[in-house]
């Protein structure tokens, strides 16, 4: 099984190269993308099943000794994230083809998208800090291309902020990596916990902060989030769906990894305050906006707060809650952007002052919006309710009352801003120019609505099978919080 790990990176990158060779034929490009992303998603599922049964898989590239080699490590946490991410990437790819837009507007859509898949897989599997940085760069560069695909005025303007901020984030990250190497003489995540623990507290704190700033910017936590609501809405809907669902969560993944594995003893009070502020400021931003895409973008920020809250509380139970929250959040957020894409394609805009009466025109579309919206706000019986319950229960167990209060209030405010989209876009009289009552938006866009329904079905399945899934998350959290099991898996 461990020979399979490099394939997660090789298959999409090879596909990207082939896609560039066949740049003249869109049919071949689409076939390559479909084959590669289906293969990666299928491999991820089988990896998850295998790793859950047999424990962490390690592959040392080039056959070097595992202490000096470039290692790819798949523990349960990484395998879970790989599975949910590659599934979403596949779903959004099919959606983008159904939209007949993005991949027709630019021939570079498919190569960039496949590179993004390779980067995402690499980031989850990286077994040392420098490779984590490299795969972050691979997926970031792919995301720069996807974000500015059309090269129009607006994309260049928002793209500039995004690219410059992310380049600076990379600098901070690589600075942290260099200093960690200078202090410990290794970057291998199996060896680092022991060597970092031997350093003086002040040095540990400094290194920890550098990594937190870098990954925090990627995850869009409180003081470092301003690039997100500005840049994501300017991308085409399928692209922003993938960014919204995945990219920030890779930052959260890296934060969980570094906090649980490298700095398990650090004081997390600051992180808890940041989590509270991220939730609160994010949802305030969402309430103030009047464009569907911008509201949803601010929600990403707000939701990141819940995941960081789990990390900040610490301990196996809290990390379990964070992992479960991430599993629930990725498909829910993606599906909301997919619904927005259908609305924008049908009405030519997703501004709440221009769209109205969607519920009367298409009942099913309204249902497609309501399910993930309620789930995001945390209403039972949807997956968001379970995710939030898990995080909040852990907050109560650790007696951090104020963060529990913030989490509950923010949940209510999320619902308010979702109602704003509902009253603005779905309620009211339909625009006669776009077709009257019951004009069936979904019928015209079969593939897009099919994919969206599928993703929402997945979120319902998460709620339905929450029991076994939560136990899987528990096992993953036990893996992630135990540096010794990581060490013994990598260096047997």
């Amino acid at each position: 099984m461990n020979q399979m790990l490099p394939l997660f990176i090789a298959v999409p990158l090879l596909g990207a190269a082939l896609s560039l060779v066949f740049i003249k034929s869109r049919t071949i490009q689409r076939a390559i993308s479909l084959v590669c992303s289906t293969a990666v998603a299928a491999m991820a599922v089988s990896l998850l099943v295998y790793v859950d049964r047999n424990g962490t898989e390690v592959s040392s590239l080039g056959g070097w000794r595992p202490d000096i080699a470039i290692n790819l490590v798949a523990d349960r946490f990484a395998a879970i994230m790989l599975t949910i991410s590659t599934t979403m990437l596949l779903a959004v790819l099919v959606y983008a083809m159904g939209q007949r837009g993005d991949d027709e507007r630019s021939r570079f859509y498919h190569p960039a998208y496949l590179t993004l898949i390779g980067g995402v897989c690499g980031a989850f599997l990286a077994g040392d800090l420098f490779n984590l940085f490299v795969w972050f760069e691979v997926l970031l560069i792919a995301s720069y291309v996807l974000l500015t695909l059309e090269g129009n005025d607006r994309q260049i303007r928002t793209g500039t902020t995004y690219v410059v901020l992310n380049v600076i984030e990379s600098f901070v990250l690589v600075m942290g990596v260099a200093l960690i190497f200078a202090a410990t003489g290794t970057l291998n995540m199996a060896l680092l916990p022991e060597r970092l623990a031997a350093l003086p507290d002040g040095v540990q704190l400094g290194l920890n902060l550098l990594l937190l700033i870098a990954f925090g910017l990627k995850a869009a936590v409180f003081p470092l989030y301003s690039w997100l609501p500005d840049s994501y809405p300017s991308a085409p809907s399928p692209v922003s769906a993938v960014f919204a669902g995945l990219l920030t969560k890779i930052g959260v993944y890296a934060i969980v990894r570094t906090q649980t594995l490298l700095f398990p003893e650090s004081n997390r009070t600051l992180l808890l305050v940041i989590a509270g502020l991220t939730m609160f400021v994010g949802v305030l931003g969402a309430i103030a906006q009047s464009d569907m895409k911008r509201i949803l973008s601010f929600h990403i920020v707000s939701q990141i707060g819940y995941m960081i809250m789990g990390v900040a509380l610490g301990g196996v139970a809290a990390i379990t809650a964070t992992i479960f929250y991430m599993i629930h959040h990725i498909p829910v957020k993606t599906s909301l952007f997919l619904v927005e894409g259908i609305v924008a394609r049908d009405s030519g805009s997703s501004n709440l002052s221009k769209v109205s009466g969607l519920a009367r025109r298409s009942g099913p579309l309204a249902a497609l919006f309501l399910i993930p919206a309620f789930s995001l706000a945390g209403l039972p019986p949807f997956s968001g309710f379970l995710g939030k319950t898990a995080v909040v229960t852990e907050g109560i167990a650790q007696q951090s009352w104020w963060i529990v209060a913030v989490a509950l209030v923010v949940s209510l405010m999320t619902l308010i801003s979702m109602l704003k989209i509902w009253t603005g876009a779905f309620w009211g009289a339909p625009d006669p120019e776009l077709g009257g009552e019951g004009s069936g938006i979904l019928r015209d866009q079969r593939l897009m609505s099919g994919v969206t329904t599928g993703v929402i079905g997945l979120t319902l399945a998460i709620a339905l099978f929450a029991g076994p899934l939560y136990r899987l998350c528990e096992r993953a959290a036990a893996d992630a919080t135990d540096p010794l099991s990581y060490l013994s898996a990598v260096l047997p």
């Binding site: 303007r157 793209g159 690219v163 410059v164 380049v167 260099a178 200093l179 190497f181």
Partner: protein, 130 residues
Amino acid sequence: MSVEQALLIGVLAAAGTYLVLHRTLTRIILGLGLLGNAINLLILASGDEPGEPPIIGREGEFTDPVPQALVLTAIVIGFAVISFLLAMAYRAWTIDGNDDVEDDIADRRLAERNGDTDVEQAEAEQEGAS
């Protein structure tokens, strides 16, 4: 790390930061280039004193090969990112004749509330572009 190295890294980082704080994209790119080089030197410095080349089977003092491998990768990545940014700056220049990083629309609305600038025109432009 020697004093010269530390000084060089400091000066490069300071100049880079100064340039990044400008509004023109070309200056920001130059600044990012300088900052990137400062950090590449920092990686190199993390490998301790220079020594003999690290060749398998050779005895005695040799230098740590890892930071050199890291810095090569970092340089290549920096090169790619700077090229992409230059392409973006060129694109911005072909679109509207300058490469200033503009305010975002929320900033403009705030400015309007304070009673200056022609926000409606800017919003109309943005609607046209999107």
